[in-house]
Amino acid sequence: MSRWFAALLAGVLFGAGLALSRMTDPNVVLSFLDIAGDFDPRLAFVLFGAVATTLIAFRPVLRRARPVLAERFQLPLSHAIDFPLVAGALLFGVGWGLAGYCPGPALVGAAAGVDTALIFVAAMIAGSLLQGATARRRPG
């Protein structure tokens, strides 16, 4: 199996999981975030199911000397709890709360031709490019 095929398979599982749990519906996400309104607990179950799985399954995987199809594991190196981390998470959270889309479900919605997801994804790509451009101007 090639790395390309493994990634395709992982993507299919990921997308199927998002849609099965209805995270692709921004109203379900917004109802979870709306603690003072008509609260919908689905997102908590999704996060619990996903994190319980990675908590159990990542451990034996990361004990391996190397991944099955690659030379080495490429994990985030930073452990810093710094300004970019907190400011980035803050901006992301505000955007998520405004539309009910985070990147994965937005991409699925856009691929399904949902108009609000297409608009959101276009702006999301612009936002990412804007951040990349400002980061290059002020290195460090």
Partner: protein
């Protein structure tokens, strides 16, 4: 008990495990998208494959379950929200999948802080836009 949500979550966790096990990579959607611009060899193919799979698997299950839901927000809010999510996830090195599903699974304190910050920010944003008089979104 929303079983479909729990099962969907487990599928997402298995997807992240598969990508780590086979390719040694973190299944963070924003990170995978941002790395598409990378010039390094072997960096693009698997990212494109993952995103095609994500779109294909997601759209298939959406169609099978009869979903076509859109966001209740109008175009100006959607544009602002998209800009914030794109800018913020790149600045903060991750989103719900990278920091949430994968970071928490690796017991990363950095990711735990990110998750608490974006959850709190999202909850406050929804509260302000839905429940404070005159704010209406």
């Amino acid at each position: 008990m929303p079983w479909s949500a729990l099962i969907g979550g487990v599928l997402i966790g298995l997807a992240a495990t598969a990508l780590l096990w086979f390719n040694g990579r973190i299944a963070g959607v924003s990170g995978i998208v941002n790395g598409l611009a990378s010039q390094a060899t072997g960096e693009r193919g698997w990212r494109i494959a993952f995103l095609l799979g994500l779109a294909g698997g997601g759209v298939l299950v959406m169609k099978l379950t009869g979903q076509a839901a859109s966001s209740p927000s109008g175009t100006p809010i959607l544009l602002l929200a998209g800009l914030l999510v794109g800018f913020g996830t790149r600045l903060g090195s991750g989103c719900t999948s990278g920091h949430g599903v994968c970071g928490l699974g690796r017991l990363s304190l950095r990711s735990l802080v990110a998750v608490m910050v974006f959850m709190a920010a999202a909850i406050v944003t929804v509260y302000v836009s839905r429940h404070l008089p005159g704010a209406g979104a």
